[in-house]
């Protein structure tokens, strides 16, 4: 058989396989290095700092864990969060992330490596991304072969969709969860393939870890049962499935119930019922298989029918009955919003208000996955070619994750691994085809093969005859690289010549090169901003750091009593707790909608209405984010409508969204702004003394591109305490009750020397006519 290019012929099979495995190890190490290195932009461009919002809580919790030990962490009641309700942290947190960091911390300290806990937290996500690459390699190896595995590992190592959640400093649950997700799936596939209770148990253990680490574990809880169900429906029930599923479900469920936050949910909420149902179904199917092996076919048919109908009805009635009586909690709102994207906006604005819960825009698929997104369908279709049990899994995974990623930006993260796997399968199939040196012997034969009536036997014989001729080296290299049944299925179609090969391969490598460029660019520009520190560019091109957030938080830390309660919109709760170390009313945990609505009401009402709320909650300082001077668009005025909506959900009589728009339905902050808008505490706090900054000139809000009124709002119940350099953070102090029992508005008027209107005594007598 001719080859397109010369192949070395003096290599022993052992050498080839050893070299291949060495290369794989080297490649995996390099991939790990690349995965870690590409996540360090944030540290290099800025500093070793915890990013965003949620990570600040995780970091704070980890510090408690590292300082006080696990049991104190478990029993940690945080009186400074959700003041004055407090938060039972131990029972409302997924402790996997903190426990992981805590273990690493203790381990390093046991080795006398005094690493700061912050650096462990910052570097945890990059570290785990290397493990994710390895887990993806293992998973993809089960799908196709090692080379596809390496490609998948390389893809997941640098794909922006995953980097966005795992740059250094992004110390969030997802940082370790994706590794756990992939490794659990790998164990499941392995368990299913081998029918191994050991791998089933391993899957359960990693499932437990996943449950302890991320709320997204529900994805696994439903993916594996779905896979099992589809296999049963396809008539692919085997005892391997039975063993794998039963061992995973029983051990996984029991262990997941040990996480305090999860508790009895696995047996009491609808999200977990699919797993239980499939477990029951598997028992039934196993039982019918047992019966089938003992009774005759006709009897079995009748028996099966009656049996299936009764169990189906009984199960359905039981489920409905339990849901009705409340033993099984119905689907939660977060879950509904996955099916109806408008649901959250109507019923639970607090969920809809989170930007990462919005439906995904099309460009972000390309931004996050680049060329993988169009290789992905090809990979899924290639899975249909062989359609082994594990391929069914990838197909289901692809379908489900694509849907979810379309519904919610955040779930792009769960789509990314399967895109990498499927694309790697597609890409490596392409490379297999075009790198393979084998050429068809004759043009006639290949055209014959293409003809539908080609005699298969003859062709096979020819191919089999050809196979030994090509020499053991070629087959061995091919086998080492792609150990799928090459020998059984000899090539009937192949590529002629080097030119076609080179054209395709260069194109393919070009795509890979552009992918690398794109990933680097996206990571360094889009996903590496800590959002605590902002960067802008000076006129001369140098970087200018805007550090208003930390400036404000440190001001609070240094200048206010330790017990001073700070009110802000919930986005900043974790940061205030983490950096300023002050009690907050609401934070990013968002467990109590009413409490958030209370803050929303205070922000959107007039001062007179807001003041009793502030006093009742012992608020000492109010913090707002204002981007109008700098053009920072993520400020509170832009989030203001959500505060109004959330408050309206609880107090529909007092707060109404339409009042905050002009009669023309515009959202304005200038002279035309509605009275409710102008009187709201948020508006007043944002624009207080803003126009003074322009010295009589037109004061322009750069975010909304509107000119704010020349005469700014006045504040009677609050005092401006601090405003940062670029006015991004403004802190106001809440005044105490007046000394003389007046309302603060008239007290303020008096202090400014305004004359009070003469009052008449209230007549206590009625006029006698």
């Amino acid at each position: 058989m001719p080859t397109a290019f010369p192949l070395p012929s003096d290599l022993s099979p052992a050498t080839v396989s050893n070299t291949a495995s060495l290369l794989r190890i080297v490649a995996l190490s390099l991939i790990s290095g690349a995965a870690i290195a590409s996540r360090l932009f944030a540290v290099i461009n800025f500093e070793s700092i915890i990013h965003e919002f949620d990570p600040w809580f995780n970091y704070r919790a980890t510090r408690v864990l590292a300082a006080k030990g696990f049991y104190e962490f478990w029993n940690w009641f945080d009186p400074t969060a959700w003041y004055p309700l407090g938060r039972v942290v131990g029972g409302t947190v997924y402790p996997g992330l903190m426990a992981t960091s805590g273990v690493i911390y203790s381990f390093l300290h046991a080795l006398n490596l005094p690493v700061d806990i912050r650096n462990i937290c910052v570097m945890l996500a990059p570290g785990f991304s290397a493990l994710t690459a390895w887990a993806t390699y293992m998973f993809t190896k089960e799908m196709k072969d090692e080379s596809a595995g390496l490609l998948a590992a390389a893809f997941i190592g640098i794909v922006p969709g995953y980097i966005s959640r795992s740059v250094a400093g992004s110390y969030d649950n997802e940082a370790i969860a994706i590794f756990l997700l992939m490794f659990t799936f790998y164990c499941w596939i392995k368990a299913l393939k081998l029918g191994s209770a050991l791998f089933g148990t391993l899957a359960a253990v990693f499932y437990f870890y996943m449950v302890a680490a991320w709320g997204g574990y529900v994805f696994i809880t439903n993916m594996i049962p779905l896979h099992g169900l589809v296999l049963i429906l396809m008539g692919r029930y085997t005892s391997r499935l039975y063993v794998a599923y039963s061992s995973w479900y029983v051990i996984g469920t029991l262990s997941s119930m040990q996480v305090p936050f999860v508790g009895f949910q696995p047996v009491s909420t609808s999200e977990h019922m699919a797993a239980l149902g499939v477990f029951g179904l598997l028992q039934i199917v196993a039982f019918t298989q047992l019966v089938r092996s003992h009774v005759s076919s006709k009897q079995f048919q009748d028996l099966l029918f009656v049996f299936a109908v009764t169990t189906g009805i009984l199960g359905g009635v039981a489920f409905v009955g339990l849901t009705y009586t409340g033993s099984i909690a119905p689907w939660t709102g977060r879950f509904y919003s996955l099916w109806d994207t408008g649901y959250a906006k109507k019923h639970i604005p607090i969920i809809a208000s989170v930007s990462e819960h919005q439906p995904t825009a099309w460009p972000s698929f390309f931004m996050d996955l680049q060329f993988l997104i169009f290789l992905f369908p090809a990979g899924v279709i290639l899975c249909f070619h062989q359609l082994r049990d594990e391929h069914v899994f990838v197909i289901i995974y692809a379908v489900m994750a694509s849907y979810f990623a379309g519904v919610m930006v955040r779930l792009m993260l769960t789509l990314t691994p399967v895109v990498c796997v499927a694309s790697a399968v597609a890409f490596s199939s392409l490379l297999d085809t075009y790198v393979d040196a084998a050429e068809p012997e004759h043009a006639e034969e290949s055209s014959e093969a293409a003809a539908p009536s080609a005699s298969k036997k003859a062709k096979k014989a020819a191919a089999q005859a050809a196979a030994p001729d090509t020499g053991s080296t070629l087959t061995d290299i091919a086998a080492a690289a792609t150990p799928t049944k090459k020998g059984e299925k000899p090539k009937t179609k192949a590529i002629y010549g080097l030119d076609t090969r080179l054209a395709i391969i260069m194109n393919a490598f070009g795509m890979l090169a552009f992918f690398v460029f794109h990933c680097t660019w996206a990571t360094s520009n889009a996903y590496s901003s800590p959002s605590v520190v902002l960067a802008s560019t000076n006129a001369d091109g140098s970087q200018h750091i805007i550090d208003d957030f930390r400036e404000a938080y440190y001001w609070l830390r240094q200048n206010t009593p330790e017990t001073a309660v700070v009110m802000s919109w919930w986005d900043y709760g974790y940061q205030i707790a983490g950096m300023a170390d002050r009690p907050t009313l609401v934070d990013n945990n968002t467990w109590n909608n009413t409490h958030i609505a209370t803050v929303g009401k205070a922000m959107s009402s007039s001062e007179e209405v807001a003041y009793p709320i502030l006093r009742k909650h012992d608020v000492d300082y109010v913090l707002v984010i204002f981007g109008g001077l700098l053009g920072y668009s993520g400020d509170d005025i832009n989030k203001f409508l959500w505060m109004v909506r959330i408050a309206q959900g609880v107090w529909p009589e007092e707060i109404q969204e339409p009042n905050y728009f002009t009669p023309q339905g515009e959202y304005r902050v200038d002279d035309m702004a509605s009275p409710a808008m102008k009187n709201s505490l948020m508006y007043k706090m944002s624009y207080y003394r803003f126009s003074e900054l322009f010295g009589g000139g037109a004061a322009t809000d750069r975010v909304r591109n509107q000119q704010v009124p020349k005469v700014g709002p006045t504040l009677d119940y609050l005092d401006e305490a601090y405003t940062t350099e670029n006015w991004i953070v403004r802190i106001y102090e809440v005044r105490k009750e007046d000394l003389l029992g007046r309302d603060l508005k008239s007290a303020n008027a008096f202090a400014l020397g305004k004359k009070r209107k003469r009052s008449k005594p209230v007549s206590r007598r009625r006029a006698i006519v």
Binding site: F77, P79, P84, V88, G90, S239, L740, R756, R765
Partner: protein
């Protein structure tokens, strides 16, 4: 220890010598016109005798300053310059309120003229009649002009000493707004009303036609009113400066009966200058029943003991003495709203000690022990201590529950069954197992 006692003794004797009786300090600034200074010698001498250190200053004098280096220079200020329209720069309504917030006590006399002090009065929820309308009364029949009125003290008053003789009054009355911080001291007689000094009874006729509307009359009006500011400072508004004058002090109510003006002046000064009805919370503690150390956080349903020590200032000895006389004090255990509101009774046998034992609510959160005791005339008592109430620790729950026996039985029977099955499996003859069951037993 010895030196400490001698120090205390020395201090006591010193204070006894000086008769200093205020709990707040002895320095008093008197703002009075130089010409009128001698009109009030009985009142001023009485204060001096008590140990007060009086400094006089005319309304327009720049010195001595009221606030020096941002610190109030005097503990109390008497403003008897009731007719002055202009004051020095550092005495303005705003600065007086500022002083009050710093704890300076004020004794202010009003007049029927429109002065800065009259506009300040409205900030204290006093409603003054129009300028030039003094209080007049034609009863009881007497030789004096109708604007000089004898007013009998109320039968029971916390501030005025019991059995005080009627006092002479001349000046304006004021109506009281609905401010809970006001403490009425002396009300106008029921027959009195505010009128132009010449107008006389015409006002009454006019008002009667309107059914009494707009008439400033009757015992709802007040001639001397105290004000207990939120910060603890006290202010007394008196309708006419003559109440403190030597003339009225010497003037007889009826033959042989001396007026009560001297006593009145002393009582009002005693209240205003924080001598009488002064309370304070010395300390508050909280701990578990059967324990003595206060905890940072309690567990839900804990039994908590809360104790407050309260003292009252004794002007006779100038000392704070434990005081058990409060019968209606309450303790609140508050998170947003009071979850528990209970009486805080005095402990019999230990003076000044108030204590209550209660069970913490079955609700975790950040709670406050709140004492908020506000009674007219008395110093307001306020204390707030924050503690966290946390759920039980993971090992704080009962270990074995009788209600859980079905689960225990299930676990035990499964374990026993597994053991027996394994034993039977291992001991039994080796034959091919069924696929499904064999897989599970691995």
């Amino acid at each position: 220890m010895l030196s400490f006692y001698t120090f205390i003794l020395f201090f006591l004797s010193l204070s006894g010598l000086l008769h200093a009786k205020s709990s707040d300090g002895d320095s008093v600034l008197v703002v009075v016109e130089e010409a009128h200074k001698k009109d009030f010698t009985i009142f001023f001498d009485g204060l001096k005798e008590q140990g007060y250190d009086l400094t006089f200053r005319a309304p327009k004098d720049e010195k001595p300053v009221v606030v020096e280096h941002d610190v109030p220079a005097f503990s109390h200020i008497i403003l008897f310059a009731s007719e002055s329209k202009n004051f020095a720069k550092d005495i303005t309504p705003q600065s007086l309120v500022e002083l009050l917030s710093g704890g300076t006590n004020l004794l202010i006399a009003l007049s029927q003229k429109q002065t800065p002090l009259a506009s300040l009065a409205s900030e204290f929820s006093l409603i003054l009649p129009p300028p030039g309308t003094p209080l007049v009364s034609f009863f009881p029949e007497r030789e004096d002009p109708p604007s000089v009125i004898p007013i009998a003290a109320p039968a029971s008053s916390l501030i005025l000493s019991p059995g005080i003789a009627p006092v002479w009054f001349s000046g304006v009355a004021h109506a009281l707004g609905n401010n809970p911080l006001l403490v009425p001291i002396l009300n106008a007689p029921p027959e009195s009303f505010a009128a132009d000094s010449e107008g006389g009874a015409d006002v009454l006729v006019d008002a009667t036609e309107k059914g009494g509307e707009g008439l400033w009359a009757g015992s709802q009006l007040s001639v001397a009113t105290g004000f207990q500011a939120v910060g603890g400072g006290r202010v007394t508004w008196v309708g006419g400066v003559d109440m403190f004058s030597d003339k009225f002090a010497k003037k007889e109510i009826s033959k042989g009966v001396k007026s009560g003006n001297v006593e009145f002046g002393r009582d009002v000064a005693a209240w205003t200058f924080q001598e009488s009805l002064v309370l304070r919370i010395d300390s508050t503690t909280h701990h578990l029943v059967n324990s003595t150390t206060p905890l940072e956080q309690y567990t839900t349903n804990d039994n908590i003991v809360y104790t407050a020590e309260i003292s009252r200032f004794n002007p006779q000895t100038s000392t704070w003495q434990p005081y058990s006389g409060i019968t209606d004090m309450q303790l609140e255990f508050t998170m947003l709203d009071p979850h528990i509101r209970t009486a805080l009774p005095a402990v019999p046998g230990s003076p000044g000690k108030y204590s209550v034992t209660f069970r913490a609510p079955d609700r975790h959160g950040v709670f406050k022990f709140v004492i908020n005791h506000k009674r007219k005339g008395w110093t307001h008592l306020h204390s707030s201590t924050t503690v966290a109430v946390v759920p039980p620790r993971h090992d704080g729950y009962p270990r074995f529950l009788s209600a859980a026996w079905p689960y225990y039985a299930g676990a035990i029977s499964t374990s026993v069954g597994f053991f027996l099955f394994s034993a039977a499996w291992l001991a039994g003859e080796s034959r091919e197992s069924k696929k499904g069951k064999g897989g599970k037993a691995q």
